[in-house]
Amino acid sequence: MSWKTRRLRGHEGAAAMAFLLPNFLGFLVFTIGPVFFSLVASFSNWNLQRTIPFQWIGLENYAKLFHDPDFWLYFVNTGYLMLGLPVAIGGSLVLALLLNRDLRGIVAYRTLFYLPTFTSGVALLILWKALYNPDFGPVNVVINWFLDSLGVNRLVAILTGRELSAPQWLLSTRNLLGIGVEQVRIVAKQWGLGARDAIIIMGIWVAIGGNNMLLYLAGLSNIPQELLEAAQIDGAGRWATFRHVTWPQLAPTTFFIVVMSFIGGLQGGFEQARVMTGGGPAGTTTTLTYYIYTKAFEEFDIGYSCSIAWVLFIIIFVVTLINWKFGSRELNY
């Protein structure tokens, strides 16, 4: 390499560093620094109330966490809200397949479906809160019409002696699995549709046309045309082409989406709790991230909230490893 080339490369390197430096410094000061600071804080009893003297307490916060019934309830809430992930991912794939066709106005369709993703989250949450109004919200208006006008309720009444009623949505502690309000156990009385299910349905609506759909669209456009043509020549139908060509070719995209969705799901629920439910009714929509916020900024127990954050990180890390171990097997086609 000539001296001139080396000098040019040196200049380019310096320019690249200059571009990267502000971002890197920001990352160091505002991300890496606080992350390690929170790890250190999790081994202390740091409380913003100064009458509690600062002490290093080792693993005490972590030990306390495992005996904290609220932590487990909110962990279950977090997991419950993730039940919608398979539907959201599947829905994104179906939508991407539909929007991958050469239709007139396809860009407008894609934009429309992507709209919820770039609309203000708070505005969406308030809109859904109104939709879920138990008495006059459009959701229950349709359900009540279905139950009453189509005679479903009459039939159910004849068969069971009881009538069905529309769910109370955000006001109800019920859920599809019948999980209890104060303890992690199945309670028959809790079976039904409630606040948690309402949040799942809303999440699916937002996610179907969101980034996952875009990733699938990108993945679909990367499938070599010759593979599809070869399948066509061999007489494969639409389903066989999808099953044996499209789906395997989309495996890396699906893998990425699954991993990211799990991470997002475990970190999720904060906005919904803050805007729609306040974590209620009776704590049923409080997730781990909202619990971290409550502990740190309402109860000022910073040390304990840091320990919850790190346990959440470990959970996310382990889940991602499991995803990686089992999911990446499917990538070797």
């Binding site: 200049h11 380019e12 320019a15 200059a18 571009f19 009893n45 409380n47 913003l48 109330q49 100064r50 009458t51 509690i52 003297p53 109104a130 109004n133 138990p134 008495d135 006059f136 919200g137 109370q168 006001l171 109800s172 502690t173 309000v181 104060e182 209620g280 009714p281 009776a282 704590g283 409550t294 900024f297 309402e298 109860e299 000022f300 127990d301």
Partner: protein, 451 residues
């Protein structure tokens, strides 16, 4: 374009944006003026109160910062050195948190020097907002107690004479039932009574219940009296059906465009009577054609009412804390107290300014002939009880969770309050474990190490 050009362009853009941000920042106080920032909610009343202060004290420039309200923000920002000079405190729990965080500045001596004795001058209902372990940390902004508002037109249409004087809840019930109107499907068209659920505290007090033992060492919200109070409030919704259930409330919030909360439902004509404070007038005065009356809230086995209010505290970390005392002195003065009464931002904090002809009959609002009700009831106002041995937010979270279940008719008052008391006492134990000062104080009071 070369790499250098791009880099320079980006850099210049950032400089330009910095310049724009710098230009957009609030103008500094003019020379010779002392700037003060007050974190409080923004409303026309508050702006008028600030304008009056600035007019009376031309050497000060008081500004409102409505974007940083909330205890957690105030504490975190103040500890980081970027907090306001003045901020609001809504109850004893908050005061305890502010004091324990080192944010609330002790103004005992400053007020004494100005001849102000808060225990003599202000309504006792707001003592917990300003007094902590015998020291004074602020001055009340306003005080409130709830009475019953009624819609005169609804009473006239029903041919029912306006209620006067005091009555028990049992005497009140037939009236509320008579004024509740439902259609043939049982759906309420109008309720006899509207009340926000947080009023459960008043029912506990009226039935003789308490939140804590007098020394604050144990939560006793599961006493039979407290349970009976909450049960009665629950029964107003589910047994007597004179108040809306959460579902009915949600329905009203969507259909009528009245916003949420009893005050808006009442303004929208969805209730004949409502349990609320004088501060409701700030909103109700804007409802065209609403003819209002008021009478003292019914009572239970005990004739007491829940008093509440707001206080202004000074940030101990503020470099202008000495200057900020001027605002507390303004809150203790006649111009401010008269303004509060005139605005109907609840009641003036200083008692003597509520015993004036101007308060009783404000010439600007000749129809408001009910001002004596609030003042007279205020004398029975009891403050919320707090315990120094538990984090207020934690206790509130526990209570809210249990009372959510009662409100939604999913748990009995008895079971919910027993759970709440057990969990709050566990929280006390937790707190004692962490805080040696509290541990000593607790042991001194009880001779025990925990509740």
């Amino acid at each position: 374009m070369s790499m250098k050009g791009v880099f320079l362009g980006v850099f210049l853009c950032l400089v330009l944006l910095t310049f724009v941000a710098w230009r957009l920042r609030p103008a500094p106080a003019p020379p010779g003026k002392i700037p003060l920032t007050w974190v409080s909610d923004d409303n026309p009343a508050r702006r008028e109160q600030i304008a009056l202060f600035n007019r009376l004290h031309p050497d000060y420039l008081l500004r409102l910062d409505p974007g940083n309200t909330g205890m957690e923000k105030v504490i975190v920002q103040s500890l980081a050195g970027v907090g306001p000079d003045l901020f609001d405190c809504y109850d004893g729990y908050q005061l305890s948190a502010y004091v324990r965080s080192g944010i609330a500045w002790d103004v005992t001596d400053a007020l004494k020097k100005a001849g102000i004795d808060v225990t003599r001058d202000v309504w006792p209902a707001v003592f917990p907002n300003i007094l902590h372990e015998g020291r004074v940390y602020g001055f009340p902004t306003n005080v409130a107690v709830n009475a019953i508002w009624f819609n005169k037109d609804i009473f006239d249409a029903a041919g029912i004479p306006y209620p006067t004087g005091t009555m028990t809840w049992q005497q009140f019930l037939p009236l509320a039932q008579k004024l509740t109107v439902r259609d043939k499907n049982g759906r309420a068209k109008r309720f006899g009574l509207l009340a926000d659920w947080w009023n459960w505290k008043q029912f506990v007090l009226q039935w003789g219940g308490r939140m804590f033992t007098p020394d604050g060492t144990k939560c006793i919200i599961d006493s039979p009296e407290a349970i009976a109070g909450v049960q009665f409030f629950h029964d107003l919704i589910y047994r007597y059906r004179v108040m809306p259930s959460p579902v009915e409330e949600a329905a009203m919030a969507t259909t009528g465009g009245w916003g949420s909360g009893a005050i808006h439902f009442f303004g929208g004509g969805k209730g004949a009577m409502a349990l609320g404070g004088r501060w409701w007038l700030c909103t109700l005065r804007n409802v065209e054609g609403l003819r209002l009356g008021a009478f003292a809230c019914p009572f239970g086995p005990k004739k007491v009412y829940r008093g509440y209010g707001r206080a202004t505290l000074i940030n101990a970390k503020s470099s202008r804390r000495e200057a900020a005392v001027k605002f507390l002195l303004y809150e203790a003065g006649k111009p401010y107290n008269d303004l509060i009464n005139h605005q109907a931002d609840a009641l003036a904090p200083v008692k003597k300014y509520c015993y004036t002809e101007e308060y009783l009959h404000d010439p600007a609002f000749p129809d408001e002939d009910f001002n004596a009700v609030w003042r007279d009831v205020m004398n029975y106002g009891l403050p919320d009880e707090v315990s120094p041995f538990v984090n207020g937010n934690r206790a509130t979270r526990i209570l809210n969770k249990q009372l959510d279940l009662v409100k939604n008719d999913q748990k009995s008052a008895s079971a919910a309050l027993h759970t709440a008391a057990r969990q709050i006492n566990e929280a006390i134990r937790d707190m004692l474990k962490q805080d040696p000062t509290l541990r000593m104080q607790y042991a001194k009071l009880t001779g025990r190490s925990g509740p």
